[in-house]
Symmetry: C2
Subunit: 373 residues, 2 copies
C-alpha cells in the first residue's frame, strides 16, 4: 500500500484526543462497592474495562480470619518456596545507568525455607529499606497457590464466583504475594482480568487505563537479572576475579560465603543471550522523568486496599503497587487471574492504540516481536 | 506538540493490522440463539460488541400473531403518518453525479393517511422498482411507535427485558419500519445498541464491525433532499420556471397537480444552507467502487431475518439493509434503540480508529465537526 498522507501531522492530536476524551467520559475516582457484585454487575464493569473496589469484600474469607505470621509458619513450616531477592525492593523494574541507559532488571530468584523467608521479611521491615540485607518478596506469578502454597489454598475460595460465572472461565492462575513495605512493583500491565484481595497489611495501587499507553513511554530495553557476585556453595569454582586475586596463593581457599552473605552482594548482570523487552519507563509518581509529550494528559487513579478489601483490576490497565506492612511486619495478598477475552473489539483496539502511540513517538510497535517479518 | 515521526509510513500497517487481527479473532458467521439470552448472556455480547440473532425470538409477540395488512389498516385507519418518498427506494443514500461528485440525498418527507401509505407500498411491490410511481418507506426513526403509531404499540413489549436489565436503561426510541422490497437502507452506523425484530417479510442485513471504519470510505459530502419539481397545492405560487413559460399567458392557470402527480416527479435539491455530512461511500456489495486501500480486508457478516427473528445489532456497527416483502407485499419491522455507553474505553477507542483511518486516507477526522477550533 502506498499512501498520500498530508494529514499525518494531526496524528498526535488523535492520540491526545483519545486520552483527553477518555478522561472527560470517565472518573478518576474508583467506584467503591460494599458487597460483591452480581455476575451481571461485574460484567458491566468488564464491558467498560473499569476497576472497582469492594470494601471488606473478602472479610469473611477463612484466610482473613486465621492468617497471621505464626499461622503461616505453622502451616508452611520449612517447606522450600521461591523468593525474589533484590537490593532495593525493585523486582521487575527499570534502572537507569550512569550513562542514562536503561535496564529492565529482574530479581534474583532463589529457594528458601518458608519460615526463613517470613522471618527475613519481618526483619527487613523492622530495619527499613536502608538497613542491612536485601529485600525479599514471594511473588512468583505462576499459580503458586495451587502449587508450592497449596497448604494455604484451603483457606481461600477456589475461584471468585461472580467472575467465574460472568466470564465463564476458571482462573488461569491464583497467586500469593508476601512481602513488606520495602518492595514496590513497577508500572506494568497484564493480559488478565485480575481480582486482587488484600489479606494482611495494605497495598497502594496507582492505576492507568490502557488508552494511556502513549503516556507510559514504553521502550525496548535490555533485560538483566540480579546475580550474586559470589557463588554460594563451597563446592562451586571461585569466580574469575577472585581466582586471579594475587594476595592469595592458589592453594589458599577462602571460606565459602554463606547463602545470606551471597544475597547481600547482588549485582546486575545483563541476560545472555541478550534480550530486549518492551517496558513502561515512565513513573506516574515521578512525572517529569522520562515523560512523553502525552504523559501530561495522564490521570492516575489511586486506591489503597486495606485488609479484607477486594479490587477488580481490569485487563491491560497499567498498575504500580506499593505496600505497607501489618503490625507483624508483613504484607500478604492473593489474586485470581482470568484470561482476557481476545474476541470482540477490545484487544485489537488496544493494540491499535499502543501501535499508534508508539509510531507517534517515533518508534516501531513491532520492534522486539518474535516474528519481526 | 512537535514530533519527530520517522515511522509514520508504518501507520497504514497499524490500520491494516487492526482489521486483519480483528477478523483472525472473530468469526464472520453470526451467533444464532434459539431463545432470548439472559441479561448476563446479553451483556457478554455487549462487552464484545458482537451481534447475534435469536431465531423466532419474537414469535410469541402479539404483533407476530395479529399483524397483517388488513389489521394494520383497521387499527391505524386514515390517520396521517410520516412517509419517506424516493424515486428509487434510496432514502438517506449516496448518489453519484455525472461529474463523479457525490451527494447524500435524503427522502422527500410527507404525510399521508396510513391506509393510503400501505396501499401504495403494496401497489409498488406488485409493479416493481421499475414500475410507475415513487417508493414509499415509513421509516421515521423518531420513536414513532410511541407517537404516531401508538395504536399499534400495544401489540409490542414496552421494552426488551434482557436489554433493559443488562443496560439499566429504557429504550431511547422504539421505531416501526414499513416498506417493501424496493427500499434499501444504505450502509451507515448509529450510536445505539439496537434490538431489531422482523414482524412481516424479511430483512437482509450486511454488517461490518466498527473497526472497519477505514474500509467504508467515509467522506464529507453535500446534503441534498428529494423535492417535488412542482408544488402540490393549487393555492401555492407557480415555480419560477413554470411562471416564465412563454407558451402560457400570465392569466392562464394550469390545473394544479395532485399530490400523487407531484410525488411522481421528485428532483434532487441541494440543501440550503449548504451542509456537508460525513457518510460511508463504499458499498460492500459493489466492492470495487469507491474502495479504500483497506476495503479489501473487510469481511462482511450477512444475515437474513425471517418473520419472528430478533437481531442484536451492536452500537457503531455499519449496516446496510435490504428487504423482501411478505405475500401481502409489505415488509414490517420494529426496533428498540438503547443509548450506547459512552463511559469505558469503547467509545474513545472507536473514535481513535476512525480518526487514524481517516488520517491514513489523507483526510481530517475533524472536518465537518460543529466546533472545528
Ligand atoms: O501486589 C503486587 O506487588 C503486584 C500485583 C500485580 O502486579 C498483579 O496482581 O498483577
Ligand atoms: O430496516 C432498515 O431499513 C434499517 C434499519 C436501521 O438502520 C436500524 O435499525 O438502525
Amino acid at each position: 500500500m502506498t499512501f498520500n498522507v498530508p494529514n499525518m501531522a494531526k496524528l498526535p492530536g488523535a492520540v491526545r484526543d483519545l486520552i483527553v476524551s477518555y478522561h472527560e467520559l470517565n472518573s478518576t475516582t474508583i467506584d467503591e462497592l460494599h458487597e460483591e457484585p452480581s455476575p451481571l454487575e461485574f460484567m458491566r464493569y468488564v464491558a467498560r474495562n473499569r476497576p472497582f473496589v469492594v470494601r471488606k469484600g473478602a472479610e469473611s474469607w477463612t484466610a482473613r480470619k486465621v492468617w497471621n505470621a505464626k499461622y503461616l509458619v505453622d502451616v508452611m513450616g520449612r517447606q522450600l518456596v521461591n523468593v525474589a531477592v533484590t537490593p532495593h525492593g525493585n523486582a521487575d523494574s527499570v534502572i537507569e545507568l550512569e550513562d542514562d541507559g536503561l535496564l529492565f532488571v529482574k530479581p534474583y530468584d532463589t529457594e528458601e525455607p518458608f519460615n526463613k523467608v517470613l522471618e527475613k521479611i519481618q526483619e527487613k521491615e523492622r530495619q527499613g529499606i536502608d538497613g542491612p540485607g536485601p529485600t525479599r518478596y514471594a511473588q512468583t506469578q505462576n499459580d503458586n497457590l495451587r502449587n508450592e502454597y497449596m497448604p494455604l489454598f484451603s483457606d481461600l475460595p477456589k475461584d471468585i464466583p461472580f467472575a467465574r460465572i460472568a466470564l465463564e472461565k476458571s482462573p488461569d492462575a491464583i497467586n500469593l504475594w508476601l512481602g513488606n513495605s520495602c518492595s514496590i512493583t513497577a508500572l506494568h500491565k497484564d493480559n488478565y482480568e485480575n481480582i486482587y484481595v488484600q489479606v494482611l497489611g495494605e497495598k497502594h495501587f496507582t492505576l492507568l487505563p490502557p488508552i494511556e499507553c502513549a503516556c507510559v513511554n514504553e521502550q525496548l530495553i535490555p533485560a538483566a537479572t540480579y546475580q550474586p557476585r559470589e557463588p554460594a556453595t563451597p563446592e562451586s569454582p571461585r569466580s574469575p576475579s577472585a581466582a586471579s586475586d594475587n594476595s592469595m596463593s592458589s592453594s589458599q581457599v577462602r571460606p565459602a560465603m554463606t547463602h545470606d552473605e551471597v544475597l547481600d552482594d547482588l549485582v546486575v548482570c545483563l541476560d545472555e543471550p541478550e534480550e530486549n523487552v518492551p517496558f513502561a519507563t515512565w513513573d506516574p509518581d515521578v512525572p517529569s522523568q522520562r515523560a512523553t509529550p502525552f504523559s501530561q494528559y495522564s490521570r492516575a487513579m489511586r486506591v489503597t486496599l486495606n485488609e479484607g478489601d477486594m479490587l477488580y483490576l481490569p485487563a491491560l490497565w497499567y498498575h504500580k503497587v506499593a505496600q505497607s506492612a501489618s503490625s507483624e511486619g508483613i504484607c500478604c495478598a492473593v489474586n485470581y487471574w482470568y484470561d482476557v477475552e481476545f474476541s470482540g473489539s477490545f484487544w485489537p483496539l488496544c493494540s491499535l492504540a499502543r501501535g499508534v502511540g508508539l509510531l507517534t513517538l517515533g518508534r516501531d510497535p513491532r520492534d522486539g516481536e518474535e516474528d519481526d517479518g
